[in-house]
C-alpha cells in the first residue's frame, strides 16, 4: 500500500448509483425496423456508462467478492468461519473499537468545525470573494493526509515540535495534553485536519439550499439568529449534516496512511492491523486479514445504507 494515502474510496462512492433510465420503451406496432432502432437507441444511452461499470466490476466488485470468499477459507482452501470469528474477538475486536471510536470522533470534530466555518463563510456580511479562497483551501486540505500531514503535526505539536517548545516555556507539556501517537483523541485531532475541509466542501451546497426567505421571514416574525437555527435552519439541514458526517466517518474509517505514518507498525487501527497481517511485520495471516477486511466492508455498507436513508430524508426539504 502506498505510503502517501489520501482519503480512501469510501468518500467517493456513495454518490454513485446506477443512472436512472426509464423502462425501455416498448416497441410500437408500427414495424420491427422502428422497434429495432428504438432498441438500438436504448443501448446507445447505456454505452457512455459501460466503461464506468467495467471499472467498477474490475476494481471493486470482483476484488470484493474474492475477498469475501477468501475470508471464509482456511489455509488449505476449505470453508471455515474461524477467521471471521477470530476477527470479532480479542485482540482484534479492540482494533475495531479503536477504529470506530477514531472515525466517530474525527467525524464529529470535523463535522462541527466544518459547519461553523461554512456558515461563517456564507454569512451575508462576508465578502463573496472569500468563497473561492475557502473552496481552494478546502479542496487542498481535504487531501492533505499521510506522511506530510503526520510530519506537519509532529513538527508543530509532536515531541520537539515548535508549539510544544513554546508551551514548555509556559510550563505546559503539550505532548501529554495532546498525545499524537497514543490514544484516539490525538489521532482524531490530526484526522480533523483533513475532515473539516471535506465537511466544508460537502456542506456548503446544503447551507446554500437554505432559502434567504426563510431566514428573513423568521427575523421578520421576531426570531433571533439562535431561534432561526434552532427551529428552522438546523431541522432542515440536519439530515444532510448527519449524512455528511457519516461520509466523514467512512473516510476516517478506511484511512490508513496518516495513522501508519504517525505510529508505524505499532498502530491498532483495523487497516493498520490488516497491513501488518499481510506484510508480516509480526505474523503473516492473510486469511485473518481478509476476515478483518470483510468486517470493514460490512461496516462501510451499513454506513452507506444509513447515508442513503438520510439523503432521502434530506431531499424532503432541500432541493
Amino acid at each position: 500500500m502506498a505510503a502517501v494515502g489520501t482519503i480512501e474510496p469510501a468518500a467517493g462512492e456513495p454518490s454513485v448509483g446506477p443512472p436512472s433510465v426509464g423502462p425501455p420503451s416498448e416497441g410500437s406496432p408500427s414495424g420491427s425496423a422502428l422497434q429495432w432502432r428504438r432498441g438500438a437507441r436504448t443501448w446507445l444511452r447505456w454505452i457512455g456508462v459501460v466503461p464506468f461499470f467495467g471499472y467498477l466490476a474490475i476494481f471493486l466488485l470482483i476484488p470484493t467478492g474474492e475477498l469475501v470468499v477468501d475470508a471464509f477459507k482456511g489455509p488449505t482452501g476449505h470453508f471455515t468461519g474461524a477467521n471471521v470469528s477470530a476477527a470479532v474477538h480479542a485482540p482484534y475486536l479492540s482494533s475495531f473499537e479503536t477504529s470506530l471510536e477514531l472515525s466517530a470522533l474525527s467525524a464529529l470534530f470535523g463535522g462541527i468545525l466544518g459547519v461553523f466555518v461554512a456558515t461563517a463563510v456564507l454569512h451575508r456580511g462576508v465578502p463573496a470573494a472569500l468563497r473561492p479562497v475557502v473552496f481552494t483551501f478546502s479542496g487542498m486540505a481535504s487531501n492533505f493526509a499521510g506522511v506530510p500531514l503526520a510530519f506537519a503535526f509532529s513538527a508543530t505539536i509532536g515531541t520537539g515540535g515548535v508549539l510544544t517548545g513554546l508551551f514548555q516555556h509556559l510550563g505546559v507539556d503539550l505532548t501529554t495534553l495532546v498525545p499524537l501517537t497514543s490514544g484516539v483523541i490525538g489521532l482524531s485531532l490530526v484526522y480533523t485536519y483533513f475532515q473539516f475541509p471535506l465537511m466544508i466542501l460537502l456542506v456548503i451546497p446544503a447551507i446554500d439550499g437554505l432559502k434567504r426567505e426563510w431566514r428573513e421571514a423568521s427575523t421578520n416574525l421576531g426570531a433571533s439568529t439562535i431561534s432561526y437555527w434552532r427551529y428552522v435552519g438546523l431541522p432542515i439541514i440536519l439530515p444532510s449534516l448527519l449524512g455528511m458526517m457519516l461520509l466523514l466517518f467512512g473516510s476516517a474509517f478506511s484511512a490508513y496512511a496518516t495513522a501508519y505514518a504517525l505510529s508505524g507498525s505499532t498502530g491498532n487501527l483495523v487497516p493498520e492491523v490488516i497491513g501488518n497481517l499481510l506484510n508480516g511485520n509480526i505474523t503473516v495471516d492473510p486469511q485473518l486479514a481478509y476476515a478483518l477486511a470483510f468486517g470493514m466492508i460490512v461496516i462501510i455498507t451499513v454506513v452507506l445504507v444509513c447515508y442513503s436513508l438520510l439523503q432521502r430524508r434530506a431531499s424532503r426539504w432541500l432541493r
Binding site: E216, A217, T219, L221, S224
Partner: protein
C-alpha cells in the same frame, strides 16, 4: 394602528440609484400600493421599512417613531414575500404559530390564535399540511396568516401574488383587501401589476427610477395622470401632438381639426406645442354604410388593426389626428373590417393635457 412615513429615502447600489429622495406617507389603516416597472426601487423601499436593507440617508417613521435603528426582528412588522417563504419543516399551523413561539406565548394561546387566523384565510381544514402539500395560493394565505399572528403594526407585501395563476391572483388580492379592511391594518403593497394596484388600494403610488411620480386614488391615477410616465405606464393611452390655438378658450389644433379641450390656462400660452391624452374607451367609432357621407361631427379614419379583448375589441385607426386606439364593444366590432373607413369622435372633455397642480 400605525402611520408610515418615508422621508427623503436615498439608497444607492454602486452607480445605481435605487431610491432617490423618496417621500411617502401612509395614513393609519390605509392600503397604499407601490406600483412601478421592474427595477424602480419598490422592493428596496419595502425592505428598508422591514429592516432588511438600509438607506444611505433619510428616515422611516412608523407611528411617528424612527425605526431605522431597530433591528428587523424587533420592528413587529408583518411581511409577506413573493414565494417560498414558509418554513418547509413545519405544518401550516406551526408556521402560523412561529412568531408567537419565539415570543414564548403559552402553547394554548398560540394554537388558539393560529386556528383563528387559519380560519380567517380559509385554511382551517389544511392546518396540518406541510407547505409542499399546499398549492401556491394556499401557501401565500398561510404566509399572510403567519405574519398577522404577531399583530404587526403594519403589513408589508412584496409582490405576494406574482407567482400565482391569473385566476387565483384575482381571487386572492380581493381576499387580502377584505382581511386588511377587517383588521384595519396599515398596508404597503408592492406590485408591478397595475390592475392589481388599482383594484385593491386606497391610494396608488406610481414609482419610476427611485421616485414617486404620482400618488393618488386609483381613479385619480387612471383618470388624471400628472406626468407622461404615469400616463403611459398606467392603462393604455393615446397621445396626440397638438398646438394651442387659444389657451383662454381651451382650443387646440390637432392636424386639420380644432378641438375643445380642458387646458389649464395658466400653464400654456398660444402657439405652444402640447401632447394631449385620451383613453381608448373615450374614442368612439362609427361604421359607415356603403356610400354614406362622413357626418360633419366625425373625423375620417381607417381601421388598421382589430384586437379582441373579450367584452371589447381594441381598434387601431389611422386618422388625420394621428394614430388612435379605440375600444368598442366586441359585438359592434363585428361590423368593422381592416382597411374599412370609419367615423371617429372623441368624447367631450376627455381629451386632456396632463393635469398640472
Amino acid at each position: 394602528m400605525a402611520t408610515i412615513e418615508l422621508q427623503e429615502l436615498t439608497r444607492r447600489f454602486g452607480d445605481v440609484v435605487a431610491l432617490d429622495s423618496l417621500e411617502l406617507e401612509v395614513a393609519s389603516g390605509e392600503f397604499v400600493s407601490l406600483l412601478g416597472p421592474s427595477g424602480c426601487g419598490k422592493t428596496t423601499a419595502l425592505r428598508i421599512v422591514a429592516g432588511f436593507e438600509w438607506p444611505d440617508s433619510g428616515r422611516v417613521l412608523v407611528a411617528g417613531r424612527d425605526v431605522l435603528d431597530l433591528p428587523a426582528n424587533r420592528r413587529n412588522m408583518g411581511m409577506v414575500f413573493q414565494a417560498y417563504s414558509l418554513f418547509p419543516n413545519m405544518t401550516a399551523q406551526q408556521n402560523v404559530e412561529f412568531g408567537l413561539r419565539v415570543r414564548r406565548r403559552p402553547k394554548h394561546d398560540r394554537s388558539k390564535r393560529a386556528a383563528e387566523l387559519l380560519d380567517l384565510v380559509g385554511l382551517a381544514a389544511q392546518k396540518d399540511r406541510y407547505p409542499r402539500q399546499l398549492s401556491g395560493g394556499q401557501q401565500q394565505r398561510v404566509a399572510l396568516a403567519r405574519c398577522l399572528a404577531i399583530e404587526p403594526s403594519v403589513l408589508l407585501l412584496d409582490e405576494p401574488l406574482s407567482a400565482l395563476d391569473a385566476k387565483v391572483r384575482v381571487q386572492l388580492r380581493e381576499e387580502v383587501r377584505r382581511i386588511q379592511l377587517e383588521l384595519g391594518i396599515t398596508t404597503l403593497y408592492v406590485t408591478h401589476d397595475q390592475e392589481e394596484a388599482l383594484s385593491v388600494s386606497d391610494r396608488v403610488a406610481v414609482m419610476s427610477s427611485g421616485r414617486i411620480e404620482q400618488i393618488g386614488s386609483p381613479a385619480e391615477i387612471y383618470g388624471h395622470p400628472r406626468t407622461p410616465f404615469v400616463a403611459s405606464f398606467v392603462g393604455t393611452m393615446n397621445h396626440l401632438e397638438a398646438t394651442v390655438v387659444s389657451s383662454a378658450a381651451g382650443k387646440v389644433r390637432c392636424g386639420p381639426a380644432v378641438l375643445d379641450v380642458g387646458l389649464s390656462a395658466a400653464s400654456h400660452s398660444d402657439g405652444d406645442v402640447v401632447t394631449m391624452y385620451v383613453r381608448p374607451e373615450h374614442v368612439h367609432v362609427v361604421a359607415l354604410a356603403p356610400g354614406q357621407d362622413m357626418p360633419p361631427e366625425l373625423f375620417e379614419g381607417k381601421v388598421t388593426s382589430l384586437t379582441f379583448l373579450g367584452p371589447v375589441t381594441r381598434v387601431g385607426i389611422a386618422s388625420a389626428l394621428g394614430g388612435l386606439l379605440a375600444d368598442v364593444s366586441s359585438s359592434m366590432a363585428l361590423s368593422l373590417a381592416i382597411d374599412s373607413t370609419v367615423g371617429v369622435s372623441i368624447e367631450a372633455g376627455s381629451l386632456r393635457s396632463l393635469a398640472l397642480t
